[in-house]
């Protein structure tokens, strides 16, 4: 690898600071008592405690999945604290009463809150460690009937809705980490768009892990009723610690007839240092149920952080004519490992799905695409198109593609294409011969490579994603 490339791929993490704030941290360890403690702290109704305990009992019988193409030491689930919350000075009435230290943290991270939020026209819910600390624009959204806020609040204000949908897309016993989440989840966002309402602004949640040795287990639930539509954004960062922290979130989306949910993520959890020490284990289950006819669920993700990423945002296309989409850019560097992709489960007639995945590996990293396309016998006329491209920067990294295609209906058409390319010396020389230096050349090539995915992001995030990739791979540019 040329010196130019080598310099380009070694950039420091800019969100690695720790906020000095008093926190209420539960002792490490997991038992039935821990769960009762979490439930009691949140003053939860009995049905939710039962939901958690049922998950916990099931989790005890489960094993960690071995099939992902990632390697990490065994996680000691008793060495993790399952609850950490910034101590509020008093009950929050408005944004102005949020701890100024917290506000400064989010300013540093570039999260639009307050007047910045107003300018950007984005409603923001902020999750700090395990609890939601602030939600903007609540009032304005409420006027059109949209419920947007923390899930622990929704449990009290809209218990019927939460009870009706929680665990319906990702069942309690779905997989090891999702089951753990069902037992111990602390907070997350809840969003309900009533029948016929087009959400007037993008909704956004920022997740921040601050405390060392705490796990973050948030739970997000988004429901779009008949004819509703919403675009939801999620951003994540964490401070730099030498230990690994576990992030095991669950996201459930439900789209009823003619509803449309677009979910975008820019994931920039701390990735560990250049020797692979520290960093977040990002083991996440995200799934959308396109339940109604003509409904649409679209996932867009830009994954640049985490020591290990293990996530497959999926679509269950149940309604006839429903549409599932997955657009992903995953960048790995140093010793990062990513095993990510999607599942498109076609059940309804004439269901359609599109998968566009772009993986970039640099350093000693390992980047795998793993995707499942399943056409059920009922899914007459189903269509899938998948495109998975990998780019290698340097000769110490690896890229793998594992598409699983299972077709049970002979009127379906499934197409999958994959290719591998590299940023080569020849390309860089060509740019140089036209007066363009190495860093700018790499930036152009990478942005060109990822264009199909960036186009799917809302404007705000597209800019951020481009910058992030810049930080990740381009040295001083940007």
């Amino acid at each position: 690898m040329s010196a130019v490339l080598q310099n380009l791929v070694n950039q420091p993490y800019k969100h690695g600071f720790v906020t000095e704030i008093e926190s209420d941290v539960a002792p490490k360890g997991l038992s039935e008592n821990t769960i009762r403690m979490i439930s009691a702290k949140k003053n939860e109704p009995e049905w939710l405690l039962e939901f958690r305990l049922k998950a916990y009992q099931q989790w005890l019988t489960m094993e960690e999945p071995q099939w992902p193409n990632v390697k990490y030491p065994k996680i000691d689930f008793q060495a993790i604290s399952y609850y950490s919350a910034p101590k509020p000075r008093k009950k929050l009435g408005s944004m102005d009463e949020v701890d100024p230290e917290l506000l400064r943290t989010f300013e540093k991270l570039g999260v639009p809150m307050h007047e910045r939020a107003a300018l950007a026209g984005v409603a923001v819910d902020v999750i700090f460690d395990s609890v939601s600390v602030a939600t903007t624009y609540k009032q304005k959204l409420a006027e059109v009937g949209i419920i947007f806020g923390s899930i622990s609040e929704a449990v009290h204000t809209h218990p019927d809705l939460v009870k009706q949908y929680l665990g319906t897309v990702v069942p309690v016993g779905d997989n090891f980490y999702a089951t753990l989440n069902s037992a111990v989840f602390t907070d997350g966002s809840f969003c309900f768009i009533p029948k016929g309402v087009k959400c007037p602004m993008d909704l956004s949640t920022y997740f921040r892990i601050n405390t060392e040795a705490s796990g973050q287990f948030e739970r997000t639930l988004i429901i779009a009723e008949e004819g509703a539509s919403v675009s939801y954004l999620e951003g994540c960062t964490a401070p730099r610690f030498d230990t690994n922290q576990l992030h095991a979130a669950v996201v459930e989306l439900v789209a009823l007839d003619n509803a449309d949910i677009k979910y975008s993520t820019v994931q920039n959890w701390y990735a560990g240092d250049e020797n692979g020490v520290g960093g977040i284990f990002n083991f996440v289950t995200k799934r959308g149920l396109a339940k109604g006819v003509n409904s649409r669920i679209s996932w867009t993700q830009v994954e640049t952080g985490s020591a290990i990423t293990w996530k497959y945002p999926s679509c269950v296309l149940q309604g006839d004519n429903s549409v599932g989409e997955f657009y992903s850019v995953a960048v790995t560097n140093h010793h990062q490992q990513a095993d990510t992709g999607t599942k498109m489960i076609h059940i309804g007639k004439n269901t359609r799905s599109t998968i566009v995945s772009k993986g970039i590996s640099a350093g000693h990293s390992n980047n795998s695409y793993r995707g499942l396309v399943r056409i059920a016998p009922t899914a007459a006329g189903a269509r899938n198109y998948s495109q998975c491209d990998s780019m290698l920067v340097g000769d110490q990294c690896s890229a793998s593609t594992f598409p699983y295609i299972q077709v049970r209906n002979n009127s379906a058409i499934v197409e999958h294409e994959a290719s591998t390319s590299k940023i080569g010396e020849d390309q860089l020389f060509y740019f140089a011969q036209r007066g363009i230096g190495g860093e700018e050349a790499v930036s152009m090539i990478i942005n060109g490579f990822c264009k199909d995915v960036f186009q799917q992001l809302p404007m705000e995030f597209a800019v951020e994603a481009t910058k992030l990739l810049g930080l990740k791979l381009e040295g001083s540019v940007g």
Binding site: L392, Q396, C397, S400, N410, I413, H416
Partner: protein, 437 residues
Amino acid sequence: MSVATASGYLESLLQGRAQLPISPLAWLNRLRAEAVERVGALRVPTTHDEDWRFTDISSLTKLPFQPVHAASPLQTAEAERFYLEPATIRLVFVDGMYAPQLSTQVPGAAGDSGIVVTHLSAAVSAHATTLESHLGRHAEFCNNAFTALNTAFLHDGALIIVPRDVAVDMPVHLLFIATQKEAASYPRCLLIAESGSAVTVIEDYVALQQGVYVTNAVTEIALADNAHVNHIRVQRDSGQAFHIADCAVSLARASRYQSTSIALGARISRYNLNVQLAGEGAECAVDGLALITERQLADTHTCIDHIKPHGSSRQLHKCIVDGAAHAVFNGKIMVRPGAQLTDSVQSSRNLLLSGRAHVDTKPQLEIFADDVKCAHGATVGQLDSEEVFYLKSRGLSEMTARNLLTYAFGAEIIERIPVSSLRHRLKQTVLEHTQRN
């Protein structure tokens, strides 16, 4: 099925070994003993094993298949219909046992070149050193219960040695005929192509009649520098049989391996093909066609392993699935660190002809070198309605149009077989299959 009973099943199969003669070669006895040990440690794979996710072979364990010990007195008249024209060098095995009365000798001109086409047990004294460096060295049995079983039963089989710079004009036909029900046979082939040599080998599995039996075959092929091997494999076992086979190929510098495998028979078939491009500039073309119907299952697992730079691989695998049949394809392309300038293209194409037919395909790329060109693709679908319409607009009936296009889909692979009589026969088979509807 529990692990205990499954491993017990494998051990019960080993009982048939009692009648095996002890080989005069100490290393061969050791190899078999190691294999017996591995059989003891392994179990029959289940759908919980990633490699067998889509292929449930638990029905195999319902019968205690044992090898036959007396050669079936098969008459030439019965075997003749499987012979290929024009002349081939032919070795025939009946229920896994060498049948000298049906086999041919290497004819004059070819014989003078020094080519060896014989059965293993006849070659143990003359070619002991060559055998020792190849037999059991390519087909790994450490984690493969069926290859371990085959190796445990290793006694006879086909041996082909093509000497340096010899190109054999006449194809070599290895014909394996199954005649008995509930029998297990363990065919074994070893092909050594010395540097600069060229040969075409047809591995052909046929059945005299319908019946439940097991074929568990292992083939090893070693290509030295610049050698060319064209390997055709036709599996037309009985529709009730089990066919499990493993083929390991090792390519040295600038050698070229071309493989065309056709799966037509068996109730459940599984073919593992591992091709190692272990020398710089080695090339392979690995093509396959599975044409199945009713309740057949055809599973093909291939691994093309690029180890050295400048290697090239091309793969086209096709499945035509009718009835309630189930096709499985798992094609792995591996590019190891240092295998720079690898050029690899893989394609999986699947045609589902009926509403109950299904397919699981998993083409996969694992790339550990940066300066490579790799692409793969997979499609599953029906016949292209535009093409059907085009043919109908030229006056063909819907059914004729469909049959013609189905035939063409399969013929693309069969066209790659360089032996015209076999090509013709297989096309006939595809034609009959497509006309059935």
